[in-house]
């Protein structure tokens, strides 16, 4: 599998992992390569590259997982991790099944980024810099970054599974700072995919222009209002609303620990019938897609809300086993240094029928959150918060003044049930999601969505 570890070594490591008992063992081997560079003040800087290899071995016994990880993929390294994982067990050894290789087909990469000269990446950043600055003399600062990462993984387990994946992601980000007299505003934009350098062959400079335009528009911003009001959320990264509000609460580890407001809600209506939502790790080329999850399970499209009813939670191997269901292919890990846990892949609200104009026209006075800087939820209480990076007032069904400093706050179940319009202008955006100290790439998506009432926490006095 990707030449990371051979079958004989994997079998040997699994046998050693189960030497003191356990009902399941797994070897996860990984090679990570990456390059990043940035431009700031018009200069290319922070040019860096990384190359890491290592293995994580886990043994499951009862409800306990024993896990050890080491840097390096030499046979001695992998065996050392296996021995360490087994060292806390004291029972009779168990036998792994013989391995059967199962081929997974990695997502296609047309142009390997590591084969593109670093100078070309630097030129790309220079273009982003120039395109953003060309938007206006008030663009005072610009920084942009380029990152490529390749993860080759091999997974072998005591059920006989032996598989692997080869994942390459590319992402660029731009932050523009606009200044007028004493007023300073920022605008950020990103573009990323589980694709190669071909992602950047269209016109990546557009995102620089968008980020600059955003910062310039905000120079005229008024302080955001405060209070409960209708909120229209923009497409794409607006989907982070659903990611935080619902996605995290559907991860089966939260459910099984009673730490989610969605416990016991399977099959229940949780939203208006117009709402359909999915987690889909198979969307071609998307940022959150992989051929298999980090336990070797093929990724899949899981409908989590069907016509307003909750239809599925998101499972990894262990949480699925506990409930006697199949894994939904959501067992993900940041690297070989972490244990897999249930995570979202690409989570989105399926397109509806309204146009964004119709959705906004239905609001006499409200708030329009075009995009967020990010969000956070406590799945146990359902309390969430989102920082709005670009927001406007809606007055008389029309978008009016830009607003600065707005935060949306609320409770998941109330806000999900209050979605009363879903737009037809669907698209996906990229995010980095943190949970339990692990960061993984996730996609979020939706068309425009309207929430009947939500609390806007602004800075207006």
């Amino acid at each position: 599998m990707s030449g990371l570890i051979d079958e004989a070594l994997a079998e040997r490591a699994l046998a050693r992992a189960l030497a003191n008992g356990g009902r399941f063992a797994e070897v996860f081997a990984e090679r990570r390569r990456g390059q990043t560079l940035a431009i700031d003040e018009g200069r290319i800087e922070s040019v860096q590259s990384g190359a890491e290899e290592g293995a994580g071995v886990r043994v499951v016994d009862g409800n306990t997982t024993y896990f050890a990880h080491v840097d390096g993929l030499e046979p001695a390294d992998v065996e050392r991790a296996a021995d360490e994982a087994a060292s806390a067990l004291r029972a009779e050894g168990t036998e792994p099944r013989p391995l059967r290789a199962r081929k997974a087909t990695p997502l296609p990469i047309e142009r390997r980024p590591e084969e593109v000269a670093a100078e070309r990446k630097g030129d790309l950043l220079r273009e982003l810099d120039q395109r953003a600055r060309a938007q206006g003399a008030e663009i005072a600062q610009l920084n942009a970054s380029y990152a490529e990462a390749r993860r080759e993984v091999a997974i072998a387990n005591s059920d006989g599974l032996f598989t692997g994946d080869d994942r390459t992601r590319v992402r660029i980000g731009v932050q523009s700072v606009a200044r007028r007299d004493g007023t300073v505003e920022t605008g950020a934009e990103t573009l990323g995919a589980h694709r190669g350098f071909e992602l950047l062959e269209d016109d990546p400079g557009q995102i620089a222009e968008h980020s600059a335009a955003k910062a310039l528009r905000l120079l005229d911003a008024v302080p955001a209002p405060s209070g409960s009001m209708p909120v229209v959320v923009g497409g794409g990264f607006g989907g982070v609303l659903f990611h935080e509000m619902t996605g995290h609460g559907l991860e089966a580890d939260h459910i099984q620990k009673g730490a989610s407001v969605y416990v016991g809600k399977l099959g229940e209506p949780v939203a208006e019938p117009l709402l359909n939502a999915y987690d889909d790790g198979r969307l071609p080329g998307e940022w959150g897609s992989d051929a298999i999850d980090d336990e070797g399970q093929p990724t899949q499209k899981t409908q989590v809300i069907e016509a307003g009813r909750l239809t599925s939670y998101l499972y990894d191997r262990l949480t699925a086993e506990r409930e006697g269901v199949a894994s939904t292919g959501n067992g993900r890990r940041e690297s070989f240094r972490e244990l897999p846990i249930p995570r979202m892949t690409n989570t989105y609200i399926a397109p509806g029928e309204a146009t964004p104009e119709e959705i906004i026209a239905g609001v006499p006075r409200g708030f329009y959150a075009v995009s967020f800087g990010g969000g956070q939820v406590d799945p146990a209480t359902g309390d969430f918060v989102f920082g709005v990076s670009e927001g406007y007032l809606i007055e008389g069904g029309k978008v009016t003044s830009p607003c600065r400093g707005a935060t949306l706050i609320g409770n998941c179940l109330d806000a999900l049930a209050a979605i009363d319009a879903v737009g037809d202008d669907f698209f996906m955006k990229t995010g980095i999601c943190g949970k339990g100290g692990q960061k993984v790439p996730v996609g979020t998506g939706q068309g425009h969505v309207r929430v009947r009432a939500m609390t806007v926490g602004g800075t207006e006095r």
Partner: protein, 450 residues
């Protein structure tokens, strides 16, 4: 000379051999374990070993970086070559130069032998005790999401072609849990945590009890009315804000026009009640070390004193740019990251008032015990913030009902001017970096609720 220092020196030679004019290598080896418990059982037990090298290469005034896990001779040579190639891609920057060596004073006591002495079974028992204390505290305490104990011991060595050489050892551990309380038809969560250099420094009962107390206190929470009022930030929340302020005092953010504190050195920003310094050698500080991520000695730097903004934090590059000295503020997140300006241990000076006295001084207001959405609700360039919060109403100078689902909003620099008192009892908090702070009373803040 230890194995790590030798490896660092060899990596420097490999980089200069690969064409770098100057080079620096940072090698670290870290071992650690993590125990997660749930429902009286061990959920997972992790043993970790990590070793790697990060090499910075200069080619004239161009700088590049590469890191990797392969410390064999061929592996290090490949990493060194990539660092030299990376330097060729960077643009010339006249201030990019390796640090000059300075005498480093040893800093003993950073490593606690109890990490090695405590067998895994003993730290498992500690984690179980953390969970049990919370679960047994009150019938309304219905669960603990996960209780975690983790420790690590690290050795790091640095060497450079300009003569920097150093090595040290340190250890750290922490335990935390998220307790779940139920009442009045809703679930509430509460965090408890403790940090130390080794497990003997942790008090599992206190950690468990803190989570339980916090979760139970939130039962029945409603939304407060929107208004402007005095606000008391507890230590965890004050630490998060101190961390944001520390980020704005990075000379890199300042020099690049991305800080609300740019151009304000010498200005009176804060009230007399607020003083802040950074101390990379603070004996109790979790981030203490004899030298920073580029081998420059750690030290104490006064940031805000007598209300006045006294200094920014500098690494070698930002110091070169202003013709000043580095404050030893180059931080690394292990061998994988380029050194970058950051706080070490941020210390907010304690005042004279107990928490009760702070509440009494607030009169009518809100005690904020938790904030959410700091990464998206704060604009680090302007300092404008609006973040989610929860806590307790303060009425007639005493704690009253719990409140949640509201935001607190303001602007970082203005907030410093509005600090009207600091509590007398500081605490080390792992939020916002590594921060020691007492609770703070802010004279007025905007609250947005119902």
């Amino acid at each position: 000379v230890s194995e790590l220092s030798t490896a660092a020196r060899r990596a420097v030679e490999a980089a200069t051999g690969a064409g770098a004019g100057e080079a620096e290598a940072y090698v670290s080896r870290e071992g650690g374990r993590t125990v997660r418990v749930h429902g009286g059982e061990v959920e997972s037990l992790t043993a970790a070993i990590q070793t790697g090298v990060g090499i910075r290469a200069w080619s004239g005034h161009r700088v590049g970086y590469a890191y990797g896990t392969d410390l064999s001779e061929a592996g290090v040579a490949a990493i060194a070559a990539r660092a030299a190639e990376a330097a060729a891609v960077a643009d010339e920057d006249e201030f990019a130069a390796p640090p000059v060596p300075a005498a480093v004073e040893a800093l003993p006591g950073l490593s606690d032998p109890s990490i090695a002495e405590w067998e895994t079974a003993r730290v498992v028992e500690l984690a179980l005790r953390v969970e049990r204390t919370a679960l047994e505290s009150d019938p309304r305490l219905v669960g603990v999401e996960t209780a975690v104990y983790a420790d690590s011991s690290e050795r790091a060595a640095i060497a450079s072609s300009t003569g920097v050489a150093g090595e040290y050892e340190s250890s750290s551990c922490y335990a935390y849990l998220q307790a779940l309380a139920e009442g009045e038809g809703a679930r509430e969560t509460g965090l408890g945590f403790g940090l130390a250099r080794g497990p003997r420094g942790l008090n599992p009962e206190a950690i468990g009890a803190e989570a339980a107390t916090r979760a139970l206190a939130m039962i029945g929470a409603g939304k407060p009315a929107s208004r402007s009022c005095p606000v008391v930030l507890d230590e965890t929340v004050a630490a998060s804000f101190a961390g944001l302020i520390g980020g704005g005092l990075s000379a890199k953010a300042v020099q690049r026009g991305r800080s609300p504190f740019a151009g304000r050195l010498g200005e009176t920003l804060a009230s007399e009640a607020f003083a802040l310094h950074d101390d990379g050698r603070e004996p109790d500080g979790p981030a203490s070390a004899p030298f920073d991520g580029e081998g420059v000695p750690r030290r104490r730097t006064a940031l805000v004193e007598g209300g006045e903004l006294r200094s920014y934090l500098y690494d070698t590059y930002t110091a070169n740019r202003e013709g000043v000295g580095s404050t030893g503020s180059a931080a690394r997140q292990g061998y994988r990251s380029l050194p970058a300006v950051a706080t070490s241990n941020l210390v907010v000076a304690p005042g004279a008032l107990s928490l009760e006295e702070l509440l009494a001084a607030a009169g009518d207001g809100v005690l904020v015990t938790d904030v959410a959405g700091l990464h998206s609700g704060v604009n680090p360039v302007t300092g404008v913030f609006s973040v989610g919060a929860s806590g307790r109403i303060i009425r007639d100078g005493a704690l009253a009902e719990p409140v949640r689902e509201f935001t607190i909003a303001g602007e970082l620099a203005a907030m410093l001017g509005a600090v009207s008192a600091a509590g007398a009892e500081p605490r080390w908090v792992p939020f916002g970096g590594s921060v020691s702070t007492p609770p703070l009373l802010i004279a007025e803040m905007a609250i947005s609720g119902s």
